[in-house]
Symmetry: C2
Subunit: 326 residues, 2 copies
């Protein structure tokens, strides 16, 4: 393998010049620069970025902590972040937390030890203290953490749009299907928006709470039971996640219940899956979210100030599952 000395010899300059060219190219004349680049190319020389980072104190590596890229939303988010990093000359260390708070903490320590320049965090929020005293630029995606800038979708507005769509499509007994209340600011804001709009339009606010296990195992009997409740026969469902909406549609179909004939259904995320299933959803601008997270993180790395909270608009994608004429 070629060394910096080989390059210097070939280009007929001293080692210090090659080093200068790698770290501060503007300080080397254009003709010398060209000669060194040609020598690097001929010798197939790759400067040791790791060694360089020790002197520049920059690795140009960003770490991302994200639950799981095999879920459509996070796969798309990782892709958007990676693409935006590459466009800006940064590399991306991918850490899959599976929403496990312990894993998150050890990944945080690993990223610190590897001297990444900054972290994009899609946190489980089970121990928010863990993120508070990190001596490194962090940007949080779709989670509110004190003292850390966040970018998120306007989840409140998304909840408003979902409630309005169910009611506009003729539902008289709408319901929101929620996770057990936790620290997930995303879910909290979606449900607040939904509640606000229901009450504004003169409808009752009703929710069905499921455990993580029930969501995971697709145990949706509580929902189909509620459809048969004579006091409040649920006819419209807002379930805050596309995968959950897809699972629910399948669960209902196996019991002979179809959208929009027997009930209306709207999800949240805006993934392609909803298009294939002809399901309405609230769309999260995921590519823009990823790009903005990278932009803000780079600004923070460069010691520029950034807004504490950035909200990107949620929008309604209407499909047959909330069509009126059923």
């Amino acid at each position: 393998m070629s060394t910096i000395r080989d390059v210097a010899n070939r280009a007929n300059v001293c080692v210090a010049t090659v080093s200068r060219m790698l770290n501060k190219p503007e300080m080397v004349s254009q003709s010398t620069r060209k000669r060194i680049l040609a020598a690097m190319e001929e010798l197939n020389y790759h400067p040791n970025e790791m060694a360089r980072s020790l002197s520049t104190k920059r690795t140009h590596i960003i770490g991302v902590i994200i639950p799981n890229t095999s879920l459509p939303l996070f796969g798309a988010l990782a892709d958007a972040i990676e693409s935006s990093c590459a466009d800006n000359g940064y590399k991306l260390l991918l850490c899959g937390s599976r929403g496990n708070a312990d894993k998150e903490s050890s990944m945080m320590a690993m990223l610190l030890a590897n001297k990444v320049d900054g972290i994009i965090l899609c946190a489980s929020l089970r121990n928010p203290d863990a993120y508070m005293n990190i001596d490194l630029p962090i940007v949080s995606v779709d989670r509110i953490i004190p003292n850390i800038p966040s970018v998120s979708c306007d989840n409140f507005k998304g909840g408003v749009l979902a409630a309005r769509e169910l009611i506009d499509s003729g539902c008289r007994y709408p319901v929101i299907v929620n996770n057990v209340p936790g620290t997930q600011t995303t879910a909290i804001m979606r449900s607040k928006g939904y509640k606000y709009e229901c009450e504004r339009l003169g409808y009752e606010y009703r929710e069905i709470i499921l455990t993580n296990e029930q969501f995971f195992d697709c145990e949706f009997d509580a929902i189909t039971d509620a459809m048969k409740n004579p006091d409040y026969p649920v006819d419209g469902i807002f379930i805050t996640g596309d995968t959950h909406a897809a699972n629910l549609k399948r669960f209902c179909a196996r019991r002979g219940l179809e959208t929009p004939r027997d009930y209306k259904l709207i999800g949240f995320d805006g993934t392609d899956l909803m298009d294939y299933l002809d399901l309405s959803t609230i769309s999260v601008p995921i590519v823009e979210l990823g790009a903005l997270a990278v932009e803000l993180l780079i600004k923070r790395i460069e010691k520029q100030s950034v807004p504490e909270r950035s909200l990107l608009p949620a929008s309604l994608i209407r499909r047959s599952s909330t069509s009126k004429d059923a």
Copy 2:
């Protein structure tokens, strides 16, 4: 921020001992080790892995070059690779190539410059020479590249299973929908297996070739036209990719054609999407593929020999789109 010197002072040892403990912990007595770890914890000290890697000549970073994690198959593959890396004490640099050969080459150079310990490559194969003279352990996923160990699904067997399933479900005029022939060994083997089984069972081998653009824009008129061809009225379709299968199902549904009534359909990949759409598919063992790629790469990094080719079994997932009683 604390330094190694602070840790040494707090633990009442010399700097060399802390350094030894970080690099060769087995050479430090247990009581000293405990004292140093406690000091590191108290001082919130994170050893500089980057600096350490310069002396150990190992970064414990693996690079992965993969088209796009927003596609279900690659999102799942990235997740499997990341998870397996983490289990083995490696970190993952994620590079999204979008199947662009130029991007792939520059990512390869970037990974070399960053002194990753090895690369997992899901290559576009548009310029296989680019991968041949890399002075670094590489493992290729689902692509055959000379002199590089590969792990892949048994794509030939997958093609065999798809042909047999269409014929078993009663198709008399099966067809394979293929990409313009290229260097994609994956697609070539699937189509060879399909052809082999068709001919073995006494059926004609027919294919419909579409361009990348036609796949991307879901221009499937050639397929629906073929269904109306009186000489060979296509009644069974093997399309080598789940997303393509989903797109085709939607395209046909908009023209009043439904599976299994009007045609049988089988995809390839085995992603969750097929379950939601009730479509048969050939399943790629993606978690096992990712784990095996990491295992082989680590063996190569540790200078152990590994098999040149590893094939994991493909399997049929039967759903209503290839059911007989339609």
